[in-house]
């Protein structure tokens, strides 16, 4: 009698357990966190529903998250989002997994012009999901129009300039842009340093946080700042009139990449997330929401939409991630000593 009860109870239990929904697989993302509200709505929640996943965000600045990656700080992310030159640095330290690009069919839809530029030492380790190109934002009500990178040195901007620190994504980009404008090259940036040194007394402060340009513009603390594409939408939403121009000297840009971290236990799910992020619908939705510019060539946006990146192809200047990665620590030190002191 007792055996019958136990047997039927265990059978019943086994049946019950087998019909329970599978617990979701947790995927850890290392991302800036900027615009996460929109990203959550557009990408994360649909993905979680479709693939029975739970996404946990580990947020921070690029350098903070990179440090955590190198020190193997817990929790170790499965998927990491970095500007391409940081991705390259991580590859050199063998922190990222080599990707099987065939697992992401949407990869083929990306702009060939962009993908071809990625050095072969980097391309198997990350997929670009957006472009960050450098522009100049300024208060239109307080200053006449600017068109050139050299306008930063104009007298009316004295004491109202914001600059990035060298460890912000835009930092090296500003340095290289200045160097190219003043006759230097991507590798030899002495011209850039010299030019920015003349600007020293006019700079208010240096920013590290993604939201700083718009915060400081809003509070009237600065009236001119080099910004990246992700600053576009928030800057336009400010109560103060701000415009962003792309200098006549060209569009310096880097690609932001998604990679899988070495040792991840959820690679299949990671591949699915990356492919999802690159899909036409998602890329378009992110662009429309003002989060990230699309790199998927099948996304069609109106010509004057700020996130239509075809203007970038007018005069694109791709910053070679290898060059950037090699020089970064030297530039950081020199920047701190020469400019930030």
């Amino acid at each position: 009698m007792a055996i019958a009860v136990v047997a039927s109870a265990s059978l019943g239990y086994w049946y019950y357990v087998s019909t329970l929904p599978q617990p979701p697989t947790t995927l850890y993302l290392s991302h800036w966190g900027f615009g996460w509200d929109d990203i959550k709505k557009i990408v994360i929640e649909p993905f979680e529903k479709q693939y029975n996943a739970k996404i946990v965000l580990i947020s921070g600045t690029t350098s903070e998250r990179y440090t955590k990656l190198t020190t193997k700080a817990e929790p170790i992310p499965d998927v990491a989002f970095f500007p391409d030159y940081y991705t390259y640095m991580a590859v050199e330290k063998a922190l990222l997994m080599k990707l099987d690009l065939a697992k992401m069919p949407n990869y083929k839809k990306l702009f060939k012009a962009l993908v071809e530029q990625i050095p072969p030492s980097l391309s198997p380790y990350g997929v670009p999901f957006t472009i960050q190109d450098l522009g100049l934002a300024y208060r239109t009500d307080k200053h006449p129009k600017i068109t050139s990178w050299k306008d930063m040195w104009r007298d009316d901007f004295k004491g109202m300039i914001l600059m990035p620190t060298m460890t912000a994504t835009s930092g090296p980009m500003v340095l290289v842009m200045t160097s190219l404008t003043y006759g230097g090259t991507q590798t030899d940036v002495e011209a850039g340093f010299k030019a920015i040194e003349t600007l020293k007394g006019r700079i208010v402060t240096f920013y590290t946080r993604s939201a700083d340009p718009q915060t400081l513009m809003e509070r009237g603390e600065v009236e001119l700042a080099p910004v990246l594409r992700y600053n576009w939408a928030p800057l336009k939403k400010l109560a103060k009139p701000v415009d962003i121009i792309y200098p006549t000297e060209g569009s310096v840009y880097v690609l932001n990449m998604i990679s899988i971290v070495q040792g991840s236990k959820n690679t299949e799910l990671a591949y699915k997330l990356m492919d999802f992020w690159l899909s036409t619908d998602i890329q378009k939705a992110l662009a429309v929401a003002g989060v990230d510019a699309p790199v998927n060539s099948e996304v069609s946006l109106p010509r004057d939409d700020p996130f239509n990146i075809t203007p970038v192809f007018n005069k694109p200047i791709y910053l070679n991630p290898e060059v950037l990665a090699k020089n970064l620590s030297g530039w950081v030190d020199a920047w701190k000593k020469r400019i930030e002191s």
Binding site: W36, S59, A239
Partner: protein, 259 residues
């Protein structure tokens, strides 16, 4: 003369209290940026604070870390204070005293860095434990000071009296000393709690992935947004900590006991 001092006091009070009052004023503004003067009236930012998962988690994380580290700090300070206090003639007393208050003299940031170096880098351990140990070290001197002060106020006589009346040492301690320093106990615990809750540097260096303390969550929020939600949260924190310290004051009269 009197008016000069009045002006001076007002100036000082303004200096000390305005940074605390400001977030409170701004938190009701409808304006999305944090400029002065505030405009309109809304409770939207307060609602936002509760909606934001990081803040709720951060509050829980900070409180739990504070609880655990205060508890362990007090648990360790009690016997140490007692020993130091009882054996006044102990030769090492001066040294021991300085040893226990060393973490307080040492700048918090240097302490955090040293912990980072020796625990995390050397042992390869970056975990919740190192964070708690760090908080405990930062907090312990405060606890020790309060307990030591109340022990001194008590005096050895009561304890000796009870021993001479036949009670053994441990019993005397438990039945006589502890109940009488209850106030110091509680006051010390609450002080430790508040110091740990507010500690920023140590959480910055040693924070363990998912248990993000509240100050770090606030700094992270400033990374990505710039609206008065932070002001609302600050206002709430002010009320929380001031309220807590009022409780300390009531139970222990800590303020009057300071130096």
């Amino acid at each position: 003369m009197k008016s000069f001092f009045c002006v001076l006091s007002l100036l000082t009070l303004a200096l000390l209290l305005s940074p605390i009052v400001m977030p409170l004023l701004i938190s009701f503004s409808t304006f999305e940026s944090i400029s002065f003067p505030p405009q309109g009236f809304t409770l939207r930012w307060f609602a936002n604070v509760f909606n934001y998962e990081s803040f709720m988690n951060g509050f829980l994380a900070s409180s739990s870390i504070a609880l655990v580290s205060s508890f362990s700090a007090i648990a360790l300070s009690l016997p140490s204070s007692y020993v130091l206090y009882r054996h006044k003639a102990l030769k090492m007393k001066g040294l021991m005293e300085s040893l226990f208050t060393l973490p307080m003299l040492m700048p918090e940031i240097v302490l955090s860095y040293m912990l980072l170096l020796f625990v995390c880098r050397a042992l390869g351990v970056v975990s919740l434990l190192s964070l708690i140990v760090g908080h405990m070290l930062v907090v312990m001197p405060f606890g020790m000071r309060v307990i030591y002060a109340s022990l001194s106020n008590l005096g050895v006589d009561i304890e000796d009296a009870s021993v001479s009346l036949g009670r053994d040492r441990l019993g005397a301690f438990l039945e006589v000393v502890l109940p009488n320093i209850k106030h110091g106990f509680v006051g010390g615990f609450l002080t430790c709690f508040m110091v740990s809750f507010n500690a920023v540097s140590i959480s910055l260096f040693l924070s363990y992935g998912e248990a993000v303390p509240l100050p770090i969550a606030m700094l992270n929020y400033l990374q990505i947004r710039y609206d008065p939600t932070i002001a609302a949260l600050s206002a709430m924190l002010v009320v929380f900590t001031v309220g807590l310290s009022a409780v300390v004051e009531k139970t222990v009269g800590f303020v009057s006991g300071v130096r």
